[in-house]
Amino acid sequence: MRHSRILKAGIACNQTEDHGTDLIASQDQQWLPAINGTVLGIALNHSDLRDQMDAAFNEKPHVNPPKTPVLHIKTDNTHIGNGVAIPAPADGETIYAGPSLGVVIGQQATRVSAADALDYVKGYTVVNEVSLAENSFYRPAVKAKCRDGFCPIGPWVVDAADVKAPESLQVATYINGEMQHCTTTAKLHYGIAEIVEYVSSFITLQPGDLLIAGTPPRTDKLALKAGDTVAIEIEQIGRLENPVVAEQEIAS
């Protein structure tokens, strides 16, 4: 089954449907973010990005490689549904798509072991963890990552039981219909169970909370500008598509 949240006559409704093979969402619905809990991102969790950072990890200001998963928060103002516009900064600063698997929590999780962790996972969704350039991992990335509309989530959550091998899924990014980037969840440095174990060791996770498993390096291939349409497609899960619109046009 797959579960979504949609807006019907101005009211947020939950919708459940069979999980078919069609990954593309209908354009006739107003999609809300597929979850409404807390959203935590796992930074530096893609092996390509870690390889790229390898030298920097041992230099100032980091001094040492990270000992634990590096977390950040995508605040509620960033969450948008499939089809909703991602606002591009008025000053024209480049923004980057952040294709990732989203891990959705199904039951309250406190101090869960890796062995039990997947019992707490309800299912999976697609996340576009949009960011300004990731120039620094030293201080919290509020400015780069918490702008309005910088976290499309959806279109839906697919039950974990319907997803085979979540740690070897292809994640493709299309910009204006052309595949620009392709990666796989096999490149996660910390796997799904390890992430849930780590986070729940000090944060009680609630049903509907979302963990963004890991995003690749923000290369030019992932750069977005106003007028683009960006789609992240993860096999077996879905295709999350959003237009990019200059923020001054959205405001008016």
Partner: protein, 255 residues
């Protein structure tokens, strides 16, 4: 008006607070301060300022930042007045931080400093605990240091902004077991509340109930299970909190 939230008959319930620190229910029933189960008085985004008092920045061996050092916490970390905070086993240093918390009162985007105070609905008292042992140099201060379950007491209530007046000259105090450990004044903030509203609302839309923990002055000290920690902000309120051990905390989860 002082507005708070308590757990009453198992339900989160909005109350007001009178001058005797009693919770007043909608039907006029009152509960004494120590009989009420206080919840965090609001929910929203949780912004916290690091190194926002020059004396505290030097205490931590940092020079004052040129731009606000803002980090975020998750809602898991909030607890109300008179509740318990867990100190993990085998850590060397866990410190409190006495903070004035400004609460957003209406939706704010691209607000100027000049207009910023119109968007502050009220204030409360916050205690921003940190476990120093867990610091790493990635997104510092990382969530394991700062966004832990039970590690952000807030409350007891939100007092309307107009009852406080100017927030830039308020005494802040922290007591451990009755002994004054931290004493500062909000006049020593590096980035003041109007600046912070302008800065944050330029990045993103702020919503009613969002909290800005405005930072802490010097005067850190380690806290241990059994300690009572009280934070006072002049004209705003007095927030009490008790430190418990990991064992006590884990057994409370099973209860």
């Amino acid at each position: 008006m002082k507005r708070a939230r308590i757990l009453h008959n198992g339900q989160p319930t909005d109350v007001t607070v009178n001058n005797d620190h009693q919770a007043v229910l909608a039907d006029g029933t009152t509960l004494n301060e120590n009989d009420a189960h206080w919840l965090p008085p609001c929910d929203g985004k949780i912004f916290v300022l690091g190194l926002n008092y020059a004396d505290h920045a030097s205490e931590l061996a940092f020079s004052a930042p040129e731009e606000p050092l803002v980090f975020l916490k998750g809602p898991n970390t909030l607890i109300g007045h008179n509740q318990k905070t867990c100190r993990p086993d085998n850590v060397d240093y866990m410190h409190y931080e006495a903070e004035l918390v400004a609460i957003i009162g209406k939706t704010a985007k691209n607000v100027s400093r000049e207009d910023a105070m119109d968007y502050i609905g009220g204030y409360t008292v916050g205690n921003d605990y940190a476990i120093r042992d867990y610091l790493e140099n990635y997104y510092r201060p990382n969530l394991r240091v700062k966004s832990r379950d039970t590690c952000t007491p807030v409350g007891p209530f939100i007092i309307d902004a107009d009852e406080v007046g100017d927030p830039s000259n308020l005494e802040l105090k922290a007591y451990i077991n009755g002994e004054l450990k931290q004493h500062g004044n909000t006049k020593d903030m590096i980035f003041d509340i109007p600046f912070l509203v302008e800065y944050l609302s330029a990045i993103m839309t702020l919503s009613p109930g969002d909290m800005i923990f405005t930072g802490t002055p010097e005067g850190l000290a380690d806290v241990k299970p059994g300690d009572e920690v009280v934070i006072e902000v002049e004209k705003v309120g007095r927030l009490t909190n008790h430190i418990i051990s990991e064992d006590e905390y884990v057994s409370s989860l099973k209860a």
